[in-house]
């Protein structure tokens, strides 16, 4: 059905604004959840004072960061110093444009997918945007003109470039099984409970490991290792510019969680029942959010459990274990696909 251009643009606008709003509030509350859960793991309480159960804490934090003095060190290369956090946050938010949250829905007589836009090479788009994310961090370190920032960003750069390879290779297996780079078709290929996590368990574990490194999270948070480097690449950043780096780290976490859900856990698949609005819209969205939330919890859980790797161990793990195993997995998967 061909819908008028105006309606099309209006629906696209609504979806974009809604996605961004949900993403922004989600990022704020993932941080709160992280503080509460890690506190519980360490036998503490965590933030409870602002609002009931500390639910207004993200709001208070945002105001604090907005109102803090914005310091620009005198030795920075000013243009790039300002550009770096902007690059980081833009790229982190860009990849949600192609992530489908649910099936195609029919609403008020119009048909639209629960997704900002669907492209044939969605997975390639996400990988491409993620690979550009390095620039924000590398430029931040370089333009700060401080040795800790530079060391942190050199570490981050080589870490992200190395693990991107393992991340991409891990996704090749499911793509071969689905026969498409279109995220919607990858989900459709897993219909009926044939989730790719079972045949591609190796790829799943590699993806998960690489995702921790891509998002610079513990146990791979070498770029910001506070004990050695101050705070790594964002040492010289303060107030809202610092918050933007923080924001993009959590946005990246959400993106890799969504991709893991779509590629390995069957997307929005799950038991559905009831009337159309429930079984076609609400329940798929619920299953999708539940699966993504599981991955987010995993990120927090690991943070509360594992110590930090040493830098040479990190590189050895990436190049000597993950990449060869991922290559072997691609080989075996393609043999199986060719055999069928």
């Amino acid at each position: 059905m061909q819908m008028p251009l105006k309606i099309y643009l209006l629906i696209a606008l609504i979806k974009t604004v809604l996605s961004l709003a949900v993403m922004a509030s989600l990022i704020a509350y993932v941080q709160l959840a992280e503080r509460r859960i890690v506190a519980r793991m360490q036998s503490r309480v965590g933030p409870t004072r602002v609002g009931p159960w500390g639910l207004l804490q993200p709001l208070a934090d945002t105001f604090k960061l907005l109102l803090k003095e914005d310091i620009t060190p005198s030795q920075t290369s000013s243009g790039l110093y300002l550009l770096a956090p902007a690059i980081s946050v833009t790229l982190a938010l860009l990849s949600i444009a192609v992530i489908p949250f649910g099936p195609v829905i029919h609403i008020f007589g119009y048909t639209t997918p629960l997704q900002i836009t669907n492209i044939n090479v969605g997975l390639l788009f996400i990988l491409g945007v993620t690979s550009l994310g390095v620039y924000g961090i590398v430029l931040a370190g370089w333009s700060s003109n401080s040795k800790y920032s530079l060391l942190g960003s050199l570490r981050a750069g080589s870490q992200m470039v190395s693990y991107e390879l393992a991340l991409g290779l891990a996704l090749v297996g499911p793509v071969l099984l689905a026969g498409s780079l279109d995220l919607r078709k990858i989900v459709a290929a897993q219909a009926g409970g044939h989730w790719f996590i079972l045949p591609e368990i190796v790829a799943f574990l590699i993806y998960l490991t690489a995702a921790f490194a891509e998002t610079n999270r513990i146990p791979f948070d070498l770029p910001e290792a506070e004990g050695e480097l101050g705070a790594g690449y964002h040492t010289e950043y303060s107030a809202m510019k610092f918050a933007l780096f923080f924001f993009s780290e959590y946005a990246n976490m959400i993106t890799v969680s969504c991709v893991a859900t779509l590629v390995f856990l069957g997307g929005w698949a799950g038991p559905v029942f009831g009337p159309v609005w429930l079984s076609r819209i609400v329940l798929p969205l619920f299953w999708f959010c539940l699966k993504a939330a599981f991955f987010l919890f995993l990120f927090i859980w690991v943070r509360g459990t594992l110590p930090r790797f040493r830098y040479d161990q990190l590189m050895a793990l990436g190049w000597k274990v993950l990449v060869p195993v991922a290559l072997a997995n691609v080989l075996i998967t393609s043999l199986v696909v060719a055999w069928r």
Partner: protein, 185 residues
């Protein structure tokens, strides 16, 4: 809809040219590299306009996301600062630059005359990933395998060239990080 493609072409074409000019103008290598990334991003959009979606995203992934990261990385590693302009290139500047731009003028005139009526058709053909893959592994299989060997040689060569001589790295002040770092490059 007729003009939408033209408008997009003009915007991103202008962006690409601006990036190229900025690359030529800036003395510092880091700004040159960043301008080139801008050019690559603009070109990726033009590739999308030309129906080459796979190439467009590979352009972002490989060119902007991997090759240029290496450039930026090396610039940072070597702390490349702006250098004074060439001393011995007066001949090239005086004669070469005008010559190139004259050549460009001739080429542009030739293109404009020769292909003035060659319009890119509407309802453009999309080169899908599937058909590119099939072409790549049927008619392009031999070049593909040859390129993979070239790649392997390239990797070995890069590691060998960037490696420090063994005698230097035996000191205690060179941590194991360096060896791992090198494989990262």
């Amino acid at each position: 809809m007729l003009n939408l493609q033209l408008i997009l072409f003009l915007i991103f074409g202008a962006l690409a040219v601006a990036g190229g000019i900025n690359m030529l103008r800036s003395r510092s290598p880091i700004y040159g590299a960043l301008s080139l990334i801008l050019v690559m991003g603009a070109l990726a959009v033009l590739y999308l306009l030309l129906g080459a979606e796979f190439i467009a995203f590979v352009q972002i992934l490989v060119y902007a996301g991997a090759i240029m990261v290496l450039f930026v990385f090396v610039i940072m590693l070597l702390n490349a600062q702006p250098l004074p302009p060439h001393e011995r290139a007066r001949f090239a500047r005086r004669l070469g630059l005008p010559a190139i731009f004259i050549l460009l003028g001739i080429l542009a005139a030739a293109f404009a005359l020769r292909y003035s009526r060659a319009r890119l058709a509407a309802g453009s053909p999309m080169f899908h990933v599937r058909s590119i893959g099939q072409a790549l592994f049927h008619q392009g299989l031999l070049p593909f395998e040859a390129t993979s060997v070239l790649f392997l040689v390239g990797i070995a060569g890069a590691v060998l060239l960037a490696a420090r001589p063994e005698t230097q790295s035996s000191g205690t002040d060179t941590p194991a990080v360096k060896a791992a770092d090198r494989s990262g490059l």
